[in-house]
């Protein structure tokens, strides 16, 4: 495939950027990624559904490309498009192989993973316990637990969100988690005290 020469006015041609990039010019590397990004994303978009997956694929492609460029592995600057397309195809094959390999492994060894799923009756009871215990906590405690352990937010972010001090968030978080753990060591309240 021919490399477009001078397709972008006032910018160096792609082979010139490749030579410069291989010589250590970081701006040339960035320009190459920028120039090829629409093609890589288009390649990915045909195979992947979500935007996040497309972006992740594109990032992986460019990380490998820059690695190869710096290692002097792009032997023919004129054919860099093919080189990048090769990375795309390899990456797509790897993903497909991983999926296929996963299916084979699952068929062969998946039963060993059955224990990763909770026993349904126990899981249903734990869910009921958690819902029951949360219902008896003050709203502020529920919010702190949710933001910290479901959404994974640090105390500083929760403090800002709930107009509390960071120290106070940590105190509420600790007390709430202790109370929740204690509550869940007993029966669901509708069943009476244990």
């Amino acid at each position: 495939m021919a490399v477009l020469q001078g397709a972008v006015p006032d910018e160096p041609s792609i082979p010139v950027l490749v030579v410069a990039g291989a010589a250590g010019d970081r701006q040339a590397e960035a320009a190459l990624c920028h120039r090829f990004a629409p093609a890589v994303r288009t390649f990915a978009r045909r195979r992947l559904r979500t935007n996040d997956a497309v972006e992740e694929f594109a990032q992986d492609v460019f990380l490998r490309f820059v690695e190869a460029l710096r290692a002097g592995q792009v032997a023919e600057p004129e054919r860099v498009g093919g080189f990048i397309l090769g990375i795309c195809k390899n990456l797509a094959r790897e993903r497909a192989r991983n999926a296929e390999r996963r299916a084979q492994l699952w068929e062969q060894f998946g039963s060993a993973l059955a224990t990763l799923s909770d026993e349904p009756t126990l899981a249903a009871y734990q869910l009921a316990q958690l819902e029951d215990c949360l219902s008896q906590m003050p709203q502020r405690s529920r919010e702190v637990i949710r933001f910290a352990f479901i959404d994974g937010q640090p105390a500083a972010a929760i403090a800002s969100r709930l107009a509390m001090s960071e120290g106070n968030v940590r105190v509420v978080r600790h007390r709430a988690i202790e109370a929740l753990r204690e509550c869940m060591s007993t029966k669901v309240s509708w069943e009476g005290a244990s």
Partner: protein, 173 residues
């Protein structure tokens, strides 16, 4: 640092030495506190996605669950004596309780059973309708409505905690 606190700090990226924590975690994976946190995160995320982590929700939240394909059984109730029967395919039970107050943001729901009492705290009121949309996952709904008669008082939160309305559920059980 207590174990629960330490796991909490690790999960929220506040642990001073996460590498050492990870080494220890994989050296001794049979840790009841770790298992409990894992349960909290998984079930908590499930509840949060169904608006059942917090108490009470808005009408549009219920509509969103229905639109997402969940089987939500909506039971609309006015003060007095009533009964609720859970359908076989119900995933979430939504009990809409009319309290006739559009001025309150949250209320407490005090429930008295033959052998126990509980208070659901800070339950959200849908102020546009003056009603509580009480969502409940099937496992808890099965236990709650299988527990027999329950008397429910909905109270204001502050001051004298005045009773707003009362319900009696499942008198027949």
């Amino acid at each position: 640092m207590k174990r629960l606190e330490e796991i909490g700090a690790y999960l929220t990226n506040e642990h001073e030495n996460p590498d050492a924590f990870e080494d220890a975690m994989f050296d001794a994976p049979d840790d009841a506190d770790l298992a409990w946190f894992d349960m909290l995160a998984r079930h908590g995320a499930h509840l949060a996605s169904h608006y059942t982590f917090d108490m009470g929700c808005l009408r549009e939240d219920v509509d969103a669950l229905v639109a997402a394909g969940l089987r939500v059984q909506v039971e609309e109730r006015w003060p007095g004596t009533t009964r609720v029967d859970l359908a076989d395919d119900t995933q979430l039970l939504c009990t809409k309780l009319h309290i006739g107050r559009t001025d309150l943001e949250r209320v407490d729901v005090e429930i008295t059973l033959a052998h126990a009492q509980k208070t659901m705290r800070d339950v959200l009121v849908d102020q546009r309708e003056g009603a509580i949309y009480g969502l409940c996952e099937r496992p808890l709904a099965q236990i709650a409505y299988g527990a027999g008669r329950s008397h429910v008082k909905i109270r204001e939160r502050g001051g004298e905690r005045r009773v707003i309305v009362e319900y009696t559920f499942n008198e027949h059980l």
